[in-house]
Structure formats: C-alpha cells, structure tokens
Symmetry: C2
Subunit: 231 residues, 2 copies
C-alpha cells in the first residue's frame, strides 16, 4: 500500500509542507482525508487526483467508491447471499445482485453454520462489510475449507480483536482484507466511471446504474461540517 497517501484521519494537513489550505478569518481549517471533497474547490496531492470521462455526470459518479468496487456481482458471482438482520433490506439488496437472503434472527445456530448447510460446506468467497467483529469471524468461518476466501471490507472499531481457532486456517481457508478493492484510485477509478457510462452491468437482477440511487440532494452546511471536524 502507498504509505505516502494512505488515508489518515488524524493528519489534517498537506503532506508537502504540513500545512492546511483552508482558513476562515485567519483560522486554519484542517484537510479531510487528504482530499476535502466536501468543499466546492480544494487543493489535493497529485496522487489523489484521477482523470475521468469528462462527459460523466459528476452529481452521479461522485458516489462511486469502495461500496461499488468491492461488490460480489461486479466480480461475476452467481449465487450471492445477503446476510442482514433487517428483512426490509432484501428488496434493496436484490438491486445489487443478492439473490438469496439469510436473516440470522430466523435461526438458532450461528449464521456461518446456516450458510455452510445451504452451500454443502461453505461459500467460495465471503465479504464482510459492516466491520462488526463478530460478523468478521462469521464471514471467515462460513467459507469452504480447501479454497474458501473471506475478504474484509468493513472498518472495525480500533480496539476490536479478531479471534478464531487456527485450524480454520490450516484447513486451507484464507482471510484477507481489502482497502478499496486494492484499487489504485488514480489509475483504476476512471474504469469504474467508464462502467457507469457504458451501463456494463445492466442485467435481469438489477441495473448497476439504477443502483446509484440519489435519494435526496441537499446543500451541505460545509462551514459547520469543517468546523466540527476541526474540533
């Protein structure tokens, strides 16, 4: 991973000179995640800049981020299980490619055992998107031994501890994490915009583009946000 530009919520300043680029009435305002994209104009390190198709609608493609790049359908999976405590999310999840749904509240056994039963031993790949440490453990333990791979996407709390019996690894399961699907944003993000523009993912189970729902638009109180962040 790029040590220089890695997301650092504590930095708040530009890498080059250790200073901010925003101020109000002489008071410096910190950078947000190295990009400060809540601002209408910003100053960022050249490595954080990606050139995209100039005809792309920026009010839509601005939300193309790790939630899209790390999805299962984009990788060609056919049987996609969604696991959620909220049954209302099923319909919404179908738009993103989920075609089977497991609600842990419907079962007494741990969800990893339910999924192993539904798949005759476990899934080929699992993605954990919440960061909840117990779900991270379930996501790892629901993959098939011999070749199963669990991928962590969700950000856990800083004091979370992952625990498992090491025999789960020796049985040839793999656990890895991904940060933005290991995309190199500058070179890889433009291809996601191209997929949006070319409607690559239109299919019977949902339309990739229609999934980029903009439920409402609102003028951000940017000044307040930035001041909150500084504090």
């Amino acid at each position: 991973m790029c040590d220089l530009l890695r997301i650092n919520t504590n930095r708040g300043v530009m890498i080059g000179d250790g200073k901010q680029r925003f101020s109000k009435n002489g008071t410096p305002i910190n950078q947000f995640l190295g990009t400060s994209t809540f601002s209408e104009y910003t100053v960022i390190h050249e490595g954080c800049l990606a050139k995209i198709d100039p005809s792309a609608p920026v009010d839509k493609v601005c939300i193309l981020s790790c939630g899209v790049s790390s999805g299962a359908r984009i990788s060609g999976a056919s049987r996609i299980f969604g696991v959620d405590l909220n049954p209302k999310r099923l319909e919404e999840a179908k738009n993103f490619g989920v075609n089977e749904f497991v609600n842990p509240r419907d079962h007494i056994k741990p969800v990893q055992e339910i999924i192993a039963e539904m798949t005759n031993g476990g899934v080929d790949r699992s993605l954990e998107c919440t960061g909840n440490i117990n779900l991270i453990i379930s996501a790892f333990e629901c993959v098939y031994d011999g070749w199963g791979v669990a991928v962590l996407v969700g950000v856990p709390s800083t004091d979370a501890i992952f625990k498992t019996n090491p025999f789960n690894f020796l049985d040839e399961r793999t656990l890895k994490g991904t940060f933005f699907r290991n995309y190199k944003p500058r070179t890889d993000l433009p291809s996601v915009v191209d997929m949006y523009m070319n409607k690559v993912f239109k299919s019977s189970v949902g339309d990739f583009n229609e999934c980029l729902l903009i439920t409402f638009q609102q003028k951000l109180e940017v000044e307040k946000l930035l001041i909150d962040f500084n504090e």
Copy 2:
C-alpha cells in the same frame, strides 16, 4: 479438501467398512492416520496410494513429506529468514536455504517488528512451522501490508486461539494455512520423488538431496507402537 480421506487421528478404522485390517491374537489393532505405514505391509484406501518412480530408493524418499513441499526455497525465494531460539540451528537451516537468521532472544522488541525493520516494512511471505500460537501471530504480523501473505504450516494445539487486530487484514495482509502445500498426494507426491531423483535443487546454498539426512536407522518396535496407539 477431500472430506473422505482427510487425516483423522481418531478414526482408526478403514472408511469402507469401519473395521481394522490388523490384529494380534484376535485383538483388532487400529489403523494409524489411514495408512499405517509403520507396518511392513498395510491395507489402505486407493486414494491414499501414490505411484512413484520405481527406481527411487525407498529408504530415502519415504521421508518426503510436508516439511519438503512447504519450504521457501522450493518456491524460489531469495532472501530467506530463519527464526529460531536455538542458534545451533542456523548451520542446519542453511542447508534448507535460510540465508539470514533472527533469534528473538537477541532482541527486546517482538520478532515481527525486528523483521519489519530488516525488510523495510515486512516480508512478502512468511511460513509458520511450529504451531506455537504466539509465533503464528508474529508470522502474520511480520508480512508487508499491501501484499504480504502468511502461511500456517505448523499444527497448533486444539485449544489455541489466533488473535489479531482486524486492521492488520484491512491493510491488505493475507493469512492462510496449508495442509501439505495443498498437494493432492496421489497426483503431486510423485513429482517430489522425481525432484529428488533428478537432483533439481542442487545449488550453492545447499543440496536438496543432501538435506534428506538419515541420521540413524533403527528397527521400530512396531508392535509396541501400535499397541500404544490403540491405548
């Protein structure tokens, strides 16, 4: 993994009919790990049988097992660190390709930090061969974030618990285990015998064949061993 023939130290009987093939004075003697190769003659499931080069010396190639197949040099690594508390093992380890040695007793910091310093951030691959749970954790945490992969080979105690901060995964480290290098013994083991016969691994840092040291040979008290195992 093959559910049928997976090593099961508790089974002790043939899969087909659930019975033993050995006996003494009418008392059944259990199978050992599905093969009972301490015996001069044995009965095994056909899936446990591999046909090897008939000219191979069986008193040498009988010890070709996971310790050889899972090694670092066989996979082409150039910088190979050996980590051991016993400095006497350095010379022996050189024969197996180790060219740098770290003794955790020589350092105050955890060994994963020492290795990260020696390698400007961590190693590309680490192999843990002891099964000690603390070393498993060290082996995982000494790999480079972004692409490092730790592979577990050693068998831990059944009640061991692997623990780590999940951010170590999100930083794109991978942890996996291997069982006999994921070899399919029946199809892959003959190639290891061929490597021995063809002296493929003769090199300046050691001779693969000479590493198959037979330090002494001894007639096994097979009856006693089997009876101990039955008990």
